[in-house]
């Protein structure tokens, strides 16, 4: 269109030439030329572009009649009134409306000459849109960073309340968190605006109260206090008005609008904010920013929740890891520091795990993955091959302790006495392998040997003089040439009895020590039980005859595959006990029969019996029941202990039934096959 000028007063002002109009039309500024009546006499095409008005409708019109200036504003009025006075200067912030009706702000530069005014407008910004967007962008970029820095969900909600209060200023904000479906809990509160909050003292905290959620709320305020709330998040489930709201009454007296804005993100709701304002409008101030901000808050909360969950998971994982590590460390420490060697093998006897002690014991330093049986060699004390206890354990699943028997052959072919414990690793009903614990038993064996040697020596040394004492007394008592006086005979007889008791005690102690060392042998052969019983009855004949006791013998003539010495000891012990602990004229029954696949032996009496309370201790070493101690019946408390050990170690069972003052029955049972053979160094006697 080109630069256009009025034809009304062409003489007063030179019409703008084409060259000039080219310049004017290509600037970004709006240029108006006014005469002294403030009528537009010239304008550039920028005016048309900006305001969407043809130049001919602009030219010759008074500037005050132009529709695009908003001269209602104080500033614009001031601008027109002071056009003369402001000439030569800049005038800022003149409101105008662009071709779309949007508010724009212009800066004006005014020139004045010969009654003409030249106004050059520069478009500063579009306040309603662009300034809000600028503010919004700046705000959102700031808060999005702050939101990420906040540590807890509660911090985020409080931050949201503060920010929304600022954006909607003046406003009162309640932020509510969704605690369960349909239930909100007020977690944050903020208030802005002098008018709004004037004279208000917030005395309570809304935190902790649970409200129902709905969209609208109506407040009834009387004398500066909220007396009624209908609907909305502020309506209490219990019908009471929360203290902060009640106190806010004065401020809320002017409440015109309540807006609810949700914190939603991707279908999840985390809470909402109630914006209470004194303005009657459809939207709170900065509603666009608030909405976007609410989204950011939702994202931040979602992120926080995910983060919290992640942290919790990681913590839990870490904890598990720490626990596992600690358990492993503990095991490691135990395994490593244990003086005993550990070997774990699978069901094929492949070694899975060993510890340092095994290396020290055996010299094999990388036994893992090797076969146990092919790596570790064991022999007996007598240097014969040792039975495969690992296979047995895997097969039977039973724990086995091998004490005093095994010798480990080390890598350097040294022989090391060891004790072994082998136990199976079970899962459900399967044996997956076993744990073999090997202990250096050198010292124990040495001690055992020393103890055993001591006992042998002591018994030998004791027995020789005992035999000498006994035999000498026997000669004295039987001397037919030099008869002892009655008194002498009596005393010497007492010495003799004591000496024989001493001999029995030595014998018992020796047997106990052998039983405990496990060095006694069970050497079974075919033995006639009848002959054994008869021979013992002959030995003890004098004793039961003295007490006028009746002996009932029901013994089958059968061969019992048993150690003759041990069998003798068993009968001897049970019979002498029965005689000792049965009154004069009492009755004693001896029963021995082969019944099916069992050999059954009973020795029953109708004697003193064993007190019920003490029945559990009867097989204990050195135990003697109270009732026999009171009667001063001789005994060393070793007999039954020895018998039980013998029976237990030779494959039999022993038990008893007893009633005080009624009598006792001892029962022994062996399989028909007889006693189990047991290798040992010494026989019992």
């Amino acid at each position: 269109m080109g630069w256009f000028s009025s034809e009304k007063e062409p003489k007063k002002i030179q019409p703008l030439g084409d060259k000039l109009s080219l310049v004017f039309d290509n600037t970004n500024d709006i240029i108006l030329l006014l005469n002294s009546d403030k009528e537009v006499v010239g304008a550039n095409t920028k005016v048309e572009d900006t305001f969407n008005l043809p130049l001919k409708e602009i030219i010759n019109n008074k500037i005050t009649d132009l529709p695009f200036f908003n001269f209602s504003s104080t500033r614009s009025k001031l601008f027109l009134e002071s056009l003369e006075s402001v000439a030569g200067s800049r005038f800022q912030e003149i409101d105008a409306l662009d071709r779309y009706g949007n508010k724009i702000i212009l800066e004006a530069k005014i020139g004045h000459k010969d009654g003409y005014y030249a106004i050059i407008f520069k478009e500063l910004s579009r306040p309603s849109d662009s300034s809000e967007i600028d503010l919004g962008l700046k705000f959102l970029s700031e808060v999005s960073i702050r939101l990420l820095e906040l540590e807890t969900e509660e911090d985020i909600f409080q931050f949201a309340a503060d920010q929304i209060a600022n954006l909607a200023k003046p406003a009162c904000i309640y932020v509510n968190k969704l605690v369960e479906k349909g239930k909100f809990k007020c977690v944050a509160y903020a208030i802005t605006g002098e008018n709004f909050a004037k004279g208000i003292k917030i005395t309570g905290s809304p935190v902790g109260n649970i409200y129902d959620a709905s969209d609208k709320a109506e407040f009834t305020v009387r004398r500066g206090k909220v007396t009624k709330v209908i609907g909305g998040i502020h309506e209490l489930s219990g019908g009471k008005i929360p203290k902060p709201i009640a106190v806010l009454g004065e401020a809320l007296a002017g409440v015109k609008s309540v807006f609810n804005i949700g914190f939603y993100w991707k279908g999840d709701i985390y809470g909402n904010a109630s914006i209470i304002t004194q303005k009657k409008s459809d939207k709170p101030q900065n509603s666009g920013i608030i909405e976007t901000f609410a989204n950011l808050v939702s994202v931040a909360i979602q992120r926080k929740k995910a983060e919290d969950q992640l942290v919790a998971t990681i913590k839990e994982l870490d904890l598990e890891k720490i626990r596992a590590t600690r358990e492993k460390d503990k095991l490691d420490i135990i395994l490593r520091s244990a003086g005993d060697g550990f070997i774990v093998v699978d069901s094929n006897q492949n070694i899975i795990l060993t510890n340092d002690a095994i290396v020290d014991l055996s010299g094999f330093d990388n036994a893992v993955n090797r076969n146990f049986g092919k790596t570790f060699k064991f022999i007996t004390e007598k240097k014969t091959e040792f039975p495969d206890f690992v296979s047995e354990c895997i097969k039977t699943g039973q724990i086995k302790r091998i004490v005093n028997k095994a010798v480990l052959v080390t890598k350097e072919k040294k022989e090391l006495p060891v004790d072994i414990t082998v136990s199976s690793l079970k899962s459900e009903n399967n044996t997956n392998g076993c744990v073999i614990v090997i202990r250096d038993a050198t010292k124990e064996r040495e001690i055992d040997r020393t103890k055993s040697e001591f006992v042998s020596l002591a018994s030998h040394q004791l027995r020789s003089p005992l035999a000498a004492i006994n035999w000498s007394i026997e000669m004295l008592l039987n001397d037919k040439k030099e008869k002892l006086s009655e008194k002498q005979h009596e005393y010497i007889s007492e010495v003799y009895r004591s000496s024989r008791r001493m001999n029995d005690l030595v014998k018992s102690l020796l047997n106990v020590s052998r039983l405990e060392l496990g060095t006694f042998l069970v050497d079974p052969r075919e033995v006639s039980v009848k002959e054994t019983v008869n021979s013992i009855l002959k030995e003890v004949e004098q004793r039961y005859k003295d007490k006028e006791q009746e002996i009932v013998v029901d013994v089958e003539d059968f061969k019992f595959y048993s150690d003759p010495q041990l069998l003798r000891m068993i009968f001897q012990n049970l019979l002498t006990n029965a005689i000792k602990y049965t009154r004069d004229k009492g009755r004693i029954e001896i029963y021995a029969h082969k019944e099916g696949d069992k050999i059954k032996i009973h020795v029953a009496d109708n004697g003193l019996g064993i007190p019920k309370k003490q029945q559990g201790q009867i097989f204990s070493k050195l135990f003697r029941a109270d009732n026999v101690k009171l009667k001063e019946i001789e005994g060393n408390g070793l007999g039954l202990y020895i018998i039980k050990s013998i029976v237990d170690h030779s494959g039999g069972k022993i038990w008893f039934e007893s009633q005080e003052k009624k009598g006792t029955t001892f029962s022994i049972e062996y399989p028909a096959s007889g006693m189990n053979k047991k290798a040992g160094e010494k026989s019992l006697n």
């Binding site: 006992v455 042998s456 020596l457 018994s459 030998h460 027995r463 020789s464 005992l466 035999a467 000498a468 006994n470 035999w471 000498s472 026997e474 000669m475 039987n478 037919k480 001999n503 030595v506 014998k507 020796l510 060095t519 050497d523 160094e681 010494k682 026989s683 006697n685």
Partner: protein, 131 residues
């Protein structure tokens, strides 16, 4: 006294030897005694007793060595022997078990402190088929 049975007592401990000798004499045996294994072996060959009571642990020559020497001789192989022992040494136990089970009619053993003199005399008589 041709029908008197002759018993050789080989025992190093004097009190025990004396008691055994006296008891056997009282029971009507002809008794020869020796205080160690070596002397015992000499007396055995010289006297050819009907039975020997032989201690196992003795100075100069142990009981089992006496038996070994006796077994080199035709008479020695047939003489019945009752070993006297305190049965404490495991090796001795094994030896006694070996010897006595190899010929149970010829050999026997007893634990000195467990046996009364009259029982021993009884055992001797039993061994010699006198009862």
């Amino acid at each position: 006294m041709a029908d008197k049975k002759k018993v050789l007592v080989v025992e190093d401990e004097q009190a025990l030897r004396k008691a055994l000798v006296n008891s056997l004499k009282e029971a009507g045996f002809e008794v020869v005694e020796a205080s160690d294994g070596k002397l015992g072996l000499e007396k055995a060959f010289k006297e050819h007793p009907d039975l020997m009571l032989l201690d196992l642990i003795m100075p100069k020559m142990e009981g089992k060595d006496v038996v070994a020497k006796l077994h080199e001789d035709s008479w020695g192989k047939s003489v019945p022997i009752i070993f006297l022992t305190n049965i404490s040494d495991p090796i001795k136990v094994a030896e006694i078990n070996d010897i006595s089970s190899s010929n149970s009619t010829l050999f026997d053993y007893l634990i000195k402190s467990d046996w009364r003199l009259e029982e021993i005399v009884g055992k001797v008589k039993e061994k010699l088929g006198m009862e």
